[in-house]
């Protein structure tokens, strides 16, 4: 049943990702997308503010809470002229809340336990970071996963890294996406789920604006959405958003970073839930999409 039946002003009500239902982790079911906030930041970051990213991403996501507003019908991707039937979204998207503040070890332990439990259930964690150093903790909690990094700093040559600059074995984001998606298919081990780290730095710097570690020459939104749509069609244990600082000095009112991330993340969510948009020239299969 719908989350609520009366329209609310956009910023009113209880804040959850896309106005999704709140759940306890023990109630998450296989095939769910479970949102988890990490309101923590690395004290070595050049600016303070990444700990505010989880809240900023949730606030922006409310704009896309179609399924929770009875005044709207279904969304249509205006570029593809394709209907996106989100009727089942509220059944499978849930918000678990944030990892509680505490001692550093306790935070890492809680994150490890949560990521591991969601993976064991067969659900996919949507982790709203926070500092990217916490992604190492998630990666450790998901030892069976193959890791795909969009942006950020490459950590392991075995990972599939979509980079904005030439960097070892990393794939450059500007080159032919179709070819790279073929590379992804070759690299992919279908017996293992994915862990996707999605860092704001994958975007063109002039678009991102709120990135503490901007990289010149990044992707446009369409390219990143195409990647996330393709990745969302694979079995995934977690996707983690990092690199957003909604409070960059003097830039607190500029919301372009969170808007970019949430818009692109929706491509992953829709694909994961089977509402995916087919992009021309995107040689992905839908075999792994749960129905």
């Amino acid at each position: 049943m719908p989350l609520r039946s009366a329209p609310l002003p956009r910023m009113a009500g209880h804040l959850s990702f896309m106005r999704a239902q709140n759940k306890a982790i023990c109630d998450v079911r296989s095939g769910d997308l479970a949102v988890l906030g990490l309101p923590f930041e690395d004290t070595s970051a050049p600016y303070a503010g990444q700990s505010l990213a989880a809240r900023a991403l949730r606030e922006t996501s409310v704009y896309f809470g179609w399924h929770a507003n009875p005044q709207f019908s279904h969304p249509v991707d205006i570029d593809a002229r394709q209907d996106i039937q989100t009727d089942g979204l509220h059944e499978r998207l849930c918000d678990l809340g944030d990892i509680s503040p505490g001692h550093d070890k306790a935070i890492h332990a809680a994150l490890r336990a949560a990521a591991s439990q969601i993976s064991r259930i067969g659900a996919c964690a949507v982790i709203l970071g926070g500092s990217d150093h916490l992604s190492e903790t998630v990666q450790c909690a998901l030892p069976n996963c193959q890791t795909v990094q969009l942006g950020g700093t490459p950590r392991d040559a075995r990972d599939f890294h979509i980079s904005t600059l030439p960097n070892g074995s990393a794939r450059l984001c500007q080159s032919n996406t179709a070819t790279q998606l073929t590379d992804l298919s070759k690299w992919r081990d279908a017996s293992r789920p994915l862990f996707v780290q999605f860092d704001l730095s994958v975007f063109e710097t002039s678009l991102g604006a709120l990135c503490d570690y901007p990289r010149l020459g990044g992707c446009d939104l369409e390219t990143v959405a195409q990647w996330l749509s393709a990745l969302g069609q694979h079995e995934a244990s977690a996707i983690m958003l990092t690199g957003l600082n909604p409070n960059r000095p003097g830039m607190g009112v500029v919301k372009v970073g969170q808007r970019l991330m949430v818009t692109a993340l929706l491509a992953f969510i829709y694909a994961r839930l089977g509402f995916g948009i087919d992009h021309p020239g995107c040689p992905t299969s839908k075999e792994n999409v749960p129905t």
């Binding site: 609310l8 704009y63 969304p75 205006i78 678009l207 372009v256």
Partner: protein, 332 residues
């Protein structure tokens, strides 16, 4: 002996800024063919990020500053590749409409009264938002004025925007807010949805609104259409569609169609990929259109610490008003 005391009277300028540093003028004194500026400093019909109530002031300041930096005499325009000189008496600034916060009807009628008066006089109302809701009262007044000036005339409508704004209602804001302005305009007596065109729509739109527009013959060009077809071609087709059986064009410029990476100072940002150059090319495509009225909305200076948003928006006005603000010079 007492020295003679003389009083020095320096030339005084009018306080504050006017659009393009034009003269202040009452609506009743505007001449036919002039651009009549109406400020609409209202943003309480926006549902999320406020600040557009400072838009009219920012546009007046930015256009004045940019005008002061342009050639004051005959010059060569690299965009048109023609020589031109500034026109005289082409624009007057009628000040701001009276905005009554919390009273949508009073604000609507105050704005509409000004644009109606300008239209009846044969002037072209240029309304400065404000959030996009204010486009409806501006167009309402234009529509009323057109009925009185030329009862048989109809107008076409082009909305450059990242969003359709065609909802019937929006949450607690009801039927009159920044998501319903185009719907309310479509209900005016001298326009038909089949003469309404949207350009620059990005991302996800409401399926019901989209179906209704297309069922009634409206035309939508997405941001991808602008990229794929080219800004000039999109505008050529948009103008042709909007003007079928119509005499005049009402143009609504929502600056948020431009990608937020360039222009973050607006209430509802989109990542359309539309660049300033593409936006200007679209407006250049309308430079000879039979403009009856226009508005520019959603300039929110507090949301852009870099202040570039109001200058990008000011350049939009320089583009769309080129044929009014300049006169061609043929002599060498």
């Amino acid at each position: 002996m007492t020295a003679t005391i003389t009083t020095f009277h320096p030339p005084l300028s009018q306080p504050g800024f006017r659009l393009f540093d034009g003269p202040l003028c009452d609506v009743a004194d505007v001449s036919a063919g002039q651009i009549g500026v109406v400020g609409m400093p209202s943003d309480w019909t926006h549902s999320s990020r406020l600040g557009t109530r400072f838009g009219p002031e920012a546009l007046r300041k930015a256009t004045t500053l940019m005008q002061s930096m342009r050639p004051q005499g005959v010059s060569f325009d690299p965009d048109t590749r023609r020589r031109s000189a500034p026109a005289d008496s082409w624009l007057v600034d009628c000040g701001d409409a009276e905005v009554t916060a919390q009273d949508v009807d009073a604000t609507t009628q105050a704005i509409a009264a000004m644009t109606e008066g300008l239209t009846i006089a044969g002037a072209i109302p240029l309304a400065l938002g404000g959030d996009h809701y204010n486009s409806f009262p501006a167009c309402l007044g234009y529509s009323r004025g057109l009925v009185k000036r030329a009862p048989d005339k109809r107008f076409g409508y082009i909305q450059i925007d990242g969003h359709l704004d065609f909802s019937d209602r929006l949450g607690a804001w009801g039927s009159h807010n920044h998501a319903t302005n185009a719907r309310r305009i479509s209900e005016l007596p001298n326009i038909d949805v089949s003469n309404m065109v949207w350009v620059g729509i990005a991302g996800w739109v409401d399926g019901g609104d989209l179906a209704l527009i297309e069922k009634q013959g409206g035309r939508i060009f997405s941001a991808s259409d602008v990229h794929n077809m080219g800004a000039a071609e999109v505008m050529r087709q948009a103008l042709a569609h909007a003007m079928q059986g119509c005499d005049e064009l009402y143009l609504s410029i929502d600056i948020d169609a431009m990608d937020a990476g360039y222009l973050p100072g607006t209430g509802s940002i989109v990542h359309s990929g539309i660049t300033p150059r593409q936006y200007y090319d679209m407006l250049d495509g309308l430079s000879e259109a039979p403009l009856g009225g226009l508005d520019i909305v959603e300039v929110s200076p507090p949301l852009d610490p870099s202040e570039r948003t109001e200058f990008l928006a000011a350049e939009m006005l320089f583009r769309i008003l080129r044929r009014f603000r300049t006169r061609p010079v043929t002599e060498q």
